[in-house]
Symmetry: D2
Subunit: 261 residues, 4 copies
């Protein structure tokens, strides 16, 4: 799995501070933005969080490319609806030698890993067998309809793959581009950096947090799972009970990035 | 696959007509609603479509339960973001004898079907083997930490399943509850009733169209794929070129429901 | 101001409980829904709130007609974006004898009230004068272009009103139809039932809360301003400091409705 | 009225092209992005429009500061819900010498202008009179409760303004920061650059179109009102009938910007 920060709103913290300041000010925009030194920007962004004024952070958005994640991950991330996604289509991309994600718990257990890899290998074989069989059949049909051999084969392959992919496992990797504004990102971290989140989306959420904290530290200085962001766990009796460890983990994650500066 | 209409906004067409009428009227709401006979409601809903006034139809929403659809379907439907979803979790539901969707093109081809069913059987075996192996290991860990045998087994199973599901194929069935308002539904039909849409989501979209047309015929009388709804194909050179057949298909689909009345 | 509950999703609490149950269950939908007695529905809806599982409540939505509210209210309510609105247009509705909202603090102060009513009267006069002047001018233009006197007058009036309305005050009343699902409604209550919210939107939010609590008491039993819903104030140093009074107020509001049952 | 482009996603066209390309490609993100020359980016963005593939353009968003617009404009623009807004609050900003928008049709007509300006002047007077009267009263109350004179006056003024603003006219200016992605912007142009749109929002939409066309010409090359963007009017019998003139206007508007390059 690899996450790239592809692009983001220029000067995200200044834009957020400017938007928030304008709500309470009589000055025109040019004067407002000029007055926003780095220090004042920081102070303003912090005040917003303290008084629970959430909407101005929506003005800054971040775009990520995410590679080598499973179809399981895809199903989970796209449940976040206040975001934009462009996902590699399983309908168009031939997956001859398909790549897949291996859960760490399976990697660490040789016996389970053997079963897992065998399952992957056989799925790839079944996928290829079904694709080829259907493709041959459809090509013949299209040629009979008068298409050229080349054009028939291309059309047939697309159609064959559409059904063959039903045998592909959740583990199969995909790639996507995702855009979220800061408000959506903070919510993503609250839910998915949580100890109780599934490991893969947790890892991706941590990667994203590192990337955005690096370029907009004040906007994300209190970001993390709910227990970090809110100072309390909203899951009631389903809490993981590891408050101190989680706090420590995200404090260190941010300190490491601060130290690189 | 089976789609149930679980619930919807009471009197959907009257609510939409009332909301639209209020935009251009000076009357109070009670007077407006009383004046809305069935005939006037119909006429008003039709006028809205004719002048391209889309927002009032958002006031009516429909809730569906969808069973026996594949994980591929899930990935596609949840890309419609102006909707609400509750999806059966693969993390919590044990799938001992798992059910799966078989694409019609595969069912019709005995040789391909054999390969397909064999793949499904082996995936189920791999899933069970991995689940059991990891469960045993985790149970031992939890017991060593002092948990009771029963509680250790339950916790271990959940954790085991979370990783074992990576071997499950796209074909695996799931179930969900989905709510969309009329505006989102009309957009769904435009995209997914299209001849170029993947067969499974096309089938589900057709089922949904039948269900809502039955209870709100005027709201959905011009619904269907883009070529039916707009009278032209927006996909340019990628059109299927079967305009007449598609028109005829959706005309009949609605007539059959009308005839049952 | 008057708020009507126009329509809502049939059996809102059962739909929500059914959707939530389906996430963790292997049963099919019919079995699930049949098993949902009133008591089980209540218990399930409550559990959802306790574990912070918010999305299933989106499946139920409520549609309101809101009359006699000011343009100030309109500007505030439409900032809630996860909702649908149909608003009476100032562009099309002639406001000869226009109606307006009077803030209670102004009603209670005779001297201020006199200034206020005088301002309203003069705004109405200016609106009428501008409308008539422009209408006359435009009618002449349209007649010169060859339109019939009647058609010219109608077209001219519309155009005149579009500009004349710039003199209308915030106090002018409007009416609208609004639809929100339960998740949006709960958020509305958190923000707008707050002691620090502006009085008019606070009043409307309270009316809405009463209407939905009446038909879906379990879904809204912990609803109210943030301090009621979350048990703490998120506004930090800007808190109103009246925690006990606010709790008491919303407890009574609900008890009164319970007693009517 | 003045519109500033405050910030936007870095390399908006390349990000969109990269996201779209990734959907149909097997390459990793770095390879994809490197391969995107300016020419290929243009070609790819154009193809997206031609085949009606709308979602990738969501990855680029633009943030504007909009000054000197009326409260009427505010009411209209905020109906676009797939956007983020930070609006100057009438509750907190004292408007001693308030500024207002004058519709061009009123400016051009001396007699109407006189009535209009007189109405504005009297609204300002009423606003000040009500504010001062209530402020005095509240200050006395707060001082009686033990607050310092200064703190009482500040609190009293805020409370007074909240009600006094009910007399302010629609014409009063406000300022805001607004963020929209390209998909929302294109929709805004379709609705608001239309000949039938109200003049003020039409002017702002044109200004926004110029600003974004300047920095991302390929993304917005076919943008404009529906008749320009779609090549046909969706309003049926309510069409303005000036297809050729509108086409010409937006063609020139873009050419002028092209010529500045």
């Amino acid at each position: 799995m690899k996450v790239h920060l592809l692009a983001y709103t220029a000067m995200p913290e200044k834009v957020v501070a400017g938007a928030a300041k304008l709500c309470y000010s009589d000055s025109d925009v040019d004067t407002l933005m000029e007055g926003l030194t780095e220090e004042k920007t920081e102070r303003f962004v912090r005040t917003l969080s303290e008084v629970g004024h959430e909407s101005p952070v929506e003005h800054a958005s971040f775009t990520f490319a995410i590679e080598g994640v499973s179809r399981s991950f895809l199903a989970q991330i796209t449940r976040h609806r206040l975001a934009s996604y462009s996902v590699q289509s399983q309908r168009y991309v031939r997956l001859d030698n398909f790549e897949y994600v291996t859960p760490p718990a399976i990697s660490e257990d040789p016996e389970t890993l053997r079963v897992y890899e065998e399952a992957m290998r056989r799925d790839a074989e079944a996928y290829d067998a079904i694709t080829n069989h259907l493709k041959e059949k459809y090509t013949a049909e299209y040629v009979a309809q008068g298409l050229s051999a080349k054009s028939a084969a291309s059309k047939a392959e697309k159609r064959a793959i559409e059904d063959a992919r039903f045998v592909l496992p959740n583990a199969c990797t995909t790639q996507m581009v995702m855009t979220m504004n800061v408000r959506s990102l903070r919510h993503l971290f609250m839910i998915r950096c949580c100890n109780r989140a599934q490991w893969e989306i947790h890892q991706v959420a941590d990667e994203i947090l590192k990337l955005v904290y690096r370029v907009a530290p004040t906007l994300f200085e209190s970001s993390g799972p709910s227990c970090v962001a809110l100072g309390r766990c909203p899951e009631g009796k389903m809490t993981c009970g590891m408050f101190a460890e989680v706090q420590e983990y995200y404090k260190r994650l941010k300190e490491e990035i601060d130290n690189e500066r």
